[in-house]
Symmetry: C2
Subunit: 542 residues, 2 copies
């Protein structure tokens, strides 16, 4: 027997309709790539989203077509999010920081029909044009006054002129909530980038969960500044949750340095912001160097990688700001966990609270989470056992875009590629990447734990630990070290420094000193390359 | 093109699974009808819900079967919510305060197969038995020690024994999220009660929205005490949102007086509670009489009817407690609006804030809301125009249970039966019931506004205003007054008292003095009866 409630699909357009109807005068403030500050309201943004939908229709854009963006966080990008998805097309956000060849691959794989770009990416676009022949037109996100002066971009349009020349008379269509709404590619350390195709349903459910008090805690009393770019998993969903709650939205454009962010925080009464640790280190430095205070910010959300505990402490003690750890993935829309306290934690001493806050957090309702061993057996949530972290839920990826039915799932669960512990209270902590964990005699050794220990030696500048083949134990850890300039440490000194500080069987079987370690474009250790390099390395214990 | 995210239905069982997995030790504390305090955890409640599902299966209960409850808020009722809906059957909560004939009608209309009841309703059940021959068994919510000693209840079972005698080995089934999960009848002033049939989808979406910071603002740091009964629109969804957030849950059982509530508030560190204004007046009186303070409560949510402004002020100024106005209906699961401030309101003076707080609040995302005039034309959200309040959304009723396709909707919108204003910031305020508004010459007059004014006269004990037929204006207001004992006021004195305090054309055309006014079982003015009584009344102006 079915319930007898209304059948209303979850539509992205209903978010901006809600914001317009009940928070029409709430502001969207943007620092534009052109340099100036732009102010508009949800009502105006809704109006322009509808004009954009008419404009794209007039260009022949249809349901399911992909519209690419190479753009920073601005009101225009916000309008594109709603205009494109709202009309039933797919908003494909492209990371402009990728190598141009990767971007061209992504544009062609997605078959983008039009690409909207910020004017400071004009040179990048000029380089893309010859490699992306199927793109019908390139839309510069500016008015005609700022249109890039180039003859290397065919079918070049000015976004503002395009929008302004069309009517706002447009009724958002209603359709299956499982319809694709947006597309974001994830670039791993191996292979081509893979596309994650979100739906209206997954996006709206995620927007609810992200706004919860135990998520990012968003309300109409907030002024939200998403530092995390809109090309990075939809700015963690903030443009959607902001409309859901009617919060003020402050868009920082391309300037993400400490000074520029501080200026917007103060001038726009920002209450919450979100970004990766490097951004907050930049802000912290700016605050400390210039002896500044934050007047209105209450929460900084940190994702992307773990926040240094010292930074969490500094923001808390000196600036009255709570740093909230969050964790997720492109394949998870992205939010999986956020780190907030429980009722029983409120009376804990500061040190005990700190030990909870360094973890990645508890799953939001909607995300199921478990850890399993190499054989797929579920491990206990005891905060000690660590295993492959698997997730599932209505905003978790099922298959990659155009993957021809190839499923990345294991028994219906998505393997995150992370190795983690989950404690009895549900707090998850990442201990390693699945590919990097060292499998020794059926047991797992965390490469990150050993690296952190090695880095604590005063002579070590950088360290990497990889598993190397071993005839008896399958794999054993090999420690690779770059020494600090003018400092020295021997293999034996390294090992004796570590001895007693980790389990005996975790001690590396050998130490190799190198001049450099390979990194990805985003600064992460490229362990695949190291494993290739040391594939035939003979350990002294072998 | 469809998105490529996981197809996971929104299931009520996933709420209790989440609470078990990540908040397993969070408590559910109940004051039982037997008199004692019972303590258990989400893990234990989840276990017992599964035992219940096995027990009901063994009794032959199948998908879609209705299981009735006549019960207060306790851990057992919580287990029934999850066990019954989780297995695919329908949890039918029955209001024990209704007249026995209405209850019998509801049980027979719903075709309840089993009915679970609190032992203090044993006498009520004895009276129902002869009128409800299709009920297969009656389950007393107790162990065998407290089983009512009666031979008037056939097939009498003890709930605890039934649960304890079955295994907890049970996998919640996964099915269409639109499947019916629960049923609640609404009793208007006319006709038979009508059933609202909720679905898993509507319930889960409502649970997300209710927990939002601009909803009831629920987190794992809360200890929630739902005073609003679980037979009254699922206790406003709190048993679901509590599991979603992992909050502690405090169930007050049948004792809802100020002293009993205060005791639980203090002993269980309650942070938020929800109920109707009379409950909070009782609590306020208890606090004032005994010079008590509330140590942990931060928020009292008020629904059912408007909260007196003086009460809101008292709780705020003397007890540091924020009273949050919420509004909804059985047909809306029930939450439609909650009254919280916006970013721009935070700097307002106290008086300006007070003028916002008396309204019913802003719609939660998921509820669309508009006001229309008699012809269906949309009226402006200017805080002045008032019209029929229409709503729609995924947790709003489509049709009533077994209504044979008869739709209560107007162009896809549900008419709430309320007349309201909506201000430019989206705050809705109810001004009248649609049936009671007086239609005079194409314009509407609020009966409630005139009643409130009449009540302000020192000699008036109670007042009612109804529309009476008028040859020129269609309807004109007639004021009906009960004078206070030993006090007198004339028709002319009444009219001159009101003159100048409302628009001239709102002044009643006549005043009639009565000895009593008719009321419903729940104490509301029965205006239908008054209209019948004065159907042929001839106004002096006619």
């Amino acid at each position: 027997m079915l319930g007898q409630m209304m059948h209303m699909p979850l539509m992205i357009s209903s978010l901006i309709k809600h914001a317009d109807a009940f928070h029409g005068d709430a502001e969207i403030v943007s620092r534009l790539p052109e340099g100036d500050i732009h102010r508009c309201t949800y009502s105006q943004a809704h109006r322009r989203s509808r004009q954009l939908a008419n404009a794209l229709s007039s260009l022949g854009v249809k349901t399911g077509d992909r519209i690419g963006t190479l753009a920073w966080n601005t009101h225009r990008h916000f309008e594109i999010y709603y205009g494109v998805s709202g009309m039933g097309a797919i908003c494909h956000t492209i990371n402009p920081r990728l190598f141009p060849e990767q971007i061209a691959y992504i544009v062609n794989h997605a078959e983008d029909s039009y690409i909207c770009f910020d004017i400071n990416f004009a040179a990048l676009v000029e380089g893309l044009v010859p490699h992306c022949p199927k793109v019908k037109g390139w839309i510069a996100m500016c008015g005609h006054a700022h249109l890039p002066k180039t003859d290397k971009i065919p079918n070049l349009l000015a976004y503002d002129d395009l929008v302004n020349s069309h009517s706002a008379e447009y009724e958002w269509p209603e359709f299956d909530e499982n319809t694709a709404s947006s597309l974001c590619y994830t670039s791993g350390t191996t292979g081509n980038p893979k596309g994650v195709l979100y739906s209206h349903r997954s996006t709206v459910l995620h927007a609810y969960a992200a706004a919860l008090p135990d998520g990012l805690n968003l309300s109409a009393r907030d002024s939200i500044l998403p530092v995390v770019p809109m090309f990075h998993v939809n700015a963690w969903g903030l443009p959607y949750s902001a409309a859901l709650t009617g919060a003020k939205l402050v868009m920082p454009g391309p300037q993400l340095d400490g000074a520029s962010l501080f200026e917007l925080f103060e001038s726009e009464s920002v209450t919450i912001s979100a970004g990766v640790p490097t951004v907050w280190l930049g802000l912290l430095q700016h605050l400390q160097t210039n002896k500044l205070k934050l007047s209105t910010v209450k929460t900084l959300v940190i994702g992307g990688s773990a926040a240094p505990p010292a930074m969490i402490k500094s923001f808390d003690e000196h600036f009255g700001v709570t740093v909230v750890h969050a964790w997720g993935m492109t394949e998870m829309s992205p939010l999986g966990t956020a780190n907030t306290f429980k009722h029983k934690h409120l009376q804990l001493a500061a040190a005990e609270k700190d030990s909870i806050r360094v973890k990645q957090g508890r799953p939001l309702y909607g995300v199921e989470m478990k850890i399993v061993d190499g054989g797929g057996k579920i491990l206990p949530n005891d905060g000690k056992a660590f295993g492959d972290l698997l997730v599932r839920g209505p905003w978790v990826l099922d298959t990659y875009f155009k993957s021809e039915g190839e499923s990345p799932l294991r028994d219906g669960w998505f393997p995150t590629g992370d190795v983690a512990t989950i404690d009895p209270d549900g707090y998850m902590q990442i201990t390693d990447r699945s590919k990097d964990v060292i499998k020794s005699g059926g047991e797992w050794i965390s490469s990150i734990d050993i690296e952190n220990l090695a880095m604590a030696h005063p002579a070590v500048m950088e360290a990497a630990v990889i598993g190397v083949a071993h005839p008896k134990w399958d794999e054993r850890p090999l420690l690779l070290v770059i020494r600090k300039k003018d400092m020295d440490v021997s293999r034996e000194e390294m090992l004796s420094f570590m001895n007693g500080k980790i389990a005996k069987w975790w001690l590396p079987d050998d130490v190799v000193f190198l001049e450099s370690l390979p990194h990805t474009a985003t600064g992460k250790l490229l362990k695949t390359k190291l494993r290739d390099q040391f594939r035939d390395y003979k350990l002294p214990t072998a």
